[in-house]
């Protein structure tokens, strides 16, 4: 019992928020604080980790090798942004303005890359362009050891994000303004630049911020596709910890990552704030393409989408089927069955915990802006950084199941919280009032009215949380015991033995994992998708993208 009578909402949010707050504090903020301390004071003591040379806060900038890592990480993120915008804007325009058979399907398929685990995507890119890849064989080009593999992988994930944001943003453009510009004599080109572009630019910029964030803090793709030269800072941190045990240097790098990603996240938050809720506008009507040029534009757009977003997935399926029945049979050995079981039970437990945390957080954050912002925290921090911080802070808990699952849950629960927050915002208040007026207790109103209304939002959030847990890779690599191998870590292991048969096995496993992620997603999300899609604003589309990437 609280000694003083607090206003109802405060009391509620305090109690509801207690659990998520503790989770964030213990599993995110404290480890980051430990990391900052380690990076700042050089306070990392581990027997056996022989000190090499002095490192300081400035060493990533003084050392040529580390500077190259940081600069390349920034550069590849920047290049991906430019490419994603250059390709994504025309694609979005075509999808937003033309009406054609299968348009809804294409829009829905744009979500597909989001449920593909990063590791699987990396394998898909390798299956296409890697050594002995499908396309590199036909075309006789070898992209291995070039930056293109990583950039292609980045685009696979992020092009869809930009296109999705672009399509939604273009749907908010006021048809009357464009019509007015045109009737005043503006060419379509001029009308685009003077009317449409200014109104969609903020949406695109905000999605590009996210693209930058993901690419910069990317781990899985860079680990597999970057090779020795084009790996990112996150991969360097992982190598320093797992292979070289240079915790001091790793924590300095992690500190810089935190600073840089924090800055980008701040820019993103500022941009988001400027994006007011869209007013009701009359959208520009979609027309079927007519004339050679418009059909060509449509075909070209679909072609580009196919090559970048569908081909890697198809390549994996093709390679997995090509591996032959024998591989499929042998692949299901005890080790794989164990990994499958681990993946399923870790994901289920993490999903349960994430749902609990997410629901509590969303309810607590109903009227509190800082709380809403707090749900973004796990997105901003890269999984590698979190895992490393946990490792430093709780050495006696490393390789313990509760810590691993808690880390999974903290990384996954913001999906539930964000989705539910959006759902709470759109709750019609009069229904709740009616229930209370008719004599339902607050508890009864919650269980019988609020919760059923929130079900679609909850499902969506859980779907993304489930996909996150299934695809989790970075934290597992850091905190897991070897015998707790999940499908992702097993794929990575098989990839480390690239004899032809191991590669085939990795492809089959990747196919399996992709199916699993898709299945979980469909099971939880599909029934809710239909009536949710219609009420989605661009902001939520971008946020959905954010979910999927983490």
């Amino acid at each position: 019992m609280l000694p003083v009578v607090l206003p109802g909402w405060l009391r509620r949010s305090v109690w509801l928020g207690l659990l998520p707050a503790v989770a964030l504090l213990v599993l995110l903020i404290a480890p980051l604080g430990r990391l900052v301390l380690a990076g700042w004071a050089g306070d990392v003591s581990l027997p056996g980790a022989a000190a090499t040379e002095a490192w300081s806060l400035g060493s990533p900038w003084q050392d040529d090798y580390l500077r190259w890592r940081v600069l390349w990480s920034l550069a590849q993120a920047g290049i991906t942004c430019v490419l994603a915008l250059a390709l994504g804007l025309p694609l979005a325009w075509v999808l937003a303005r033309f009406q054609f058979a299968g348009r809804t399907l294409v829009l829905r398929l744009l979500m597909l890359p989001f449920v593909v685990p990063t590791l699987v995507a990396a394998l898909g890119v390798l299956a296409l362009w890697g050594p002995r890849g499908v396309l590199s064989g036909w075309l006789g080009v070898n992209l291995h050891n070039t930056p293109w593999l990583l950039l292609y992988g980045n685009l696979f994930f992020n092009l869809c994000l930009v296109v999705r944001a672009g399509v939604d943003a273009l749907g908010q453009v006021n048809a009357r303004q464009v019509a007015a510009a045109r009737s005043l004599g503006a060419t379509p080109w001029r009308a685009f630049w003077r009317v449409e572009w200014p109104s969609i630019a903020p949406w695109l910029m905000s999605s590009l911020c996210l693209v930058f964030l993901y690419c910069f803090a990317g781990f899985g793709l860079a680990l597999v596709l970057g090779g020795q030269r084009y790996a990112t800072v996150e991969v360097e941190i992982y190598t320093l910890v797992a292979h070289e045990l240079q915790l001091g240097q790793a924590s300095v790098l992690a500190l810089w990552m935190l600073l840089l990603t924090g800055t980008v996240a701040l820019v993103y938050a500022l941009l988001e704030k400027r994006l007011a809720a869209p007013a009701r506008v009359e959208p520009i009507a979609r027309r079927p393409p007519h004339g050679m040029a418009q059909w060509l534009a449509l075909l070209a757009a679909l072609g580009v989408l196919f090559v970048i977003c569908a081909l890697p997935v198809l390549a994996i399926v093709w390679r997995a089927l090509d591996a032959g029945w024998a591989t499929w049979v042998t692949v299901l050995d005890a080790e794989v069955r164990g990994a499958l079981w681990n993946t399923l039970r870790f994901s289920a437990l993490a999903l349960a915990a994430a749902t609990l945390l997410g629901v509590l957080h969303a309810l607590a954050a109903e009227r509190s802006v800082p709380w809403r912002a707090a749900a973004f925290l796990p997105f901003v921090v890269s999984p590698v950084t979190v895992a490393f911080g946990l490792l430093l802070l709780y050495p006696s808990w490393t390789a313990s199941l509760p810590l691993l699952l808690a880390a999974y849950a903290v990384l996954a629960y913001p999906f539930v919280a964000k989705s539910l927050s959006a759902g709470l915002d759109s709750l019609p208040p009069h229904v709740l009032h009616a229930a209370r007026t008719l004599g339902a207790s607050p508890q009864r109103t919650f269980w019988r009215v609020t919760l059923p209304l929130l079900r679609p939002a909850l499902r969506r959030g859980m779907a993304f949380a489930a996909a996150t847990a299934l695809c989790e890779f970075a934290v597992t690599l850091f905190l897991s015991r070897p015998e707790w191998a999940t499908l992702t870590t097993l794929i990575y292991q098989r990839l480390g033995h690239p004899g032809a048969s191991s590669l085939d096995q990795a492809m089959v496993l990747a196919c399996l994992l992709m199916l699993l992620a898709l299945l979980a997603f469909l099971l939880i999300e599909w029934p809710a998708a239909d009536h949710h899609d219609r009420r989605r604003s661009p902001a939520s589309a971008v946020a959905v993208g954010a979910f999927l990437h983490a």
Binding site: P131, A242, H243, Q246, R345, A348
Partner: protein
């Protein structure tokens, strides 16, 4: 309804997964590196004789495996560890992850592993070449490591990164041990200029970039036994190996792998039996064609196929104390010289 079902399922799953969590009392946890392999019947026999179940935990590359033991030493993840070699033993001892002394290792040969580990096998990290690729190039093989820096051998050698691969690490130690630190790093710098390719691990170097496996590099840092393995695994009956070792001065490292008890681990009695088991005649014989190492017990008969793998007579084997003291610095310096 939905809610109740969900709660029920979650609770059941939680209970079930936590119950499988509890470690069986009749289980011996053996940490090994990713190249560990022994015939299943042998392991099954050990299990039957000792009434125990073996949980073989693969911890990645040997260096990575040791780091895992160090990072988790507060809650040891294994009872026994196999695969710590003469390049890593110093680090393992300094980190205190091994029981300092095994009771009965008096008969260990010149293994150079100290009291905490019992030697099990040894092998040689050395260069391998693809006979077909070398013949096709029309250039004779290099006679010294210095030859490899000549323009004729540009883009010939692929090596695993010493920071992430114990094979690469051993090769780097051999060059430093033979040439001395400064000349060795000067050589590495020249090699970098001559198109040296660096990859993450041995398997990537051997299976992706080595000319034998459709890669572009005629020379690879590998093992003296690899040519025998080529014959052993080849589908057609090949009278001779398509590859061979190229033992150059300063390019051969003798690696001795041992088994030891993890500090804080359990099952001591059975763990010691497992140590003996790895050094017993059947395992010593089997490991040759399972892990492609030489048996440490001299009386073990050599596998027939091993005649394709000549044992190098000259090799480097630097003192473990020196390696433990300077290894990390050397890796850092190597990264700077070759990769930066």
């Amino acid at each position: 309804m939905n809610r109740r079902l969900f709660t029920l399922a979650a609770t059941a799953l939680a209970a079930f997964s936590l119950s499988t969590q509890a470690r069986a009392a009749d289980e011996l946890r053996v940490m090994v590196h990713s190249s560990f392999s022994l015939p299943k019947p042998l392991l099954a026999q050990f299990e039957a004789q000792n009434g125990i179940r073996l949980a073989i935990i693969k911890g990645g590359d040997a260096g990575e495996m040791l780091n895992k033991l160090i990072l988790t030493r507060a809650q040891p993840i294994a009872d026994v560890v196999f695969g710590i070699d003469n390049t890593l033993v110093g680090k393992a001892l300094a980190a205190g992850v091994l029981e300092p002394a095994l009771p009965q290792t008096a008969d260990a040969p010149d293994a150079n592993l100290g009291a905490a580990l019992a030697a099990v096998d040894y092998g040689f990290v050395t260069l391998n070449y693809d006979k077909a690729a070398v013949a096709k190039s029309g250039i004779s093989l290099p006679k010294t490591l210095q030859d490899l820096t000549l323009p004729a051998y540009k883009n010939w050698l692929v090596t695993p990164n010493p920071a992430t691969s114990s094979t690469g690490y051993a090769f780097m130690l051999a060059t430093i041990s033979a040439m001395g630190e400064e000349p060795a790093f000067a050589w590495w710098a020249q090699m970098r200029g001559n198109g040296l390719k660096v990859v993450k691990g041995w398997s990537e170097a051997y299976y992706t970039d080595f000319a034998r496996n459709k890669g572009a590099y005629p020379l690879v840092v590998s093992y003296a036994t690899s040519p025998a393995a080529e014959v052993f695994y080849s589908k057609e009956k090949t009278p001779e190996s398509p590859t061979a070792s190229l033992n150059l001065k300063g390019g051969v490292f003798r690696q001795v792998e041992g088994v030891g008890l993890v500090k804080g681990g359990g099952q001591r009695a059975v763990a010691l039996k497992f140590v003996d088991f790895l050094r017993s005649a059947p395992v010593q014989e089997a490991l040759q064609t399972a892990m492609w190492m030489y048996p440490v017990q001299a009386k073990t008969p050599l596998a027939e196929v091993m005649r394709h793998a000549a044992e190098p007579t000259e090799f480097e084997a630097p003192a473990t104390q020196v390696v433990a003291g300077k290894g990390a610095q050397w890796v850092a310096r190597w990264t700077k010289v070759v990769l930066k």
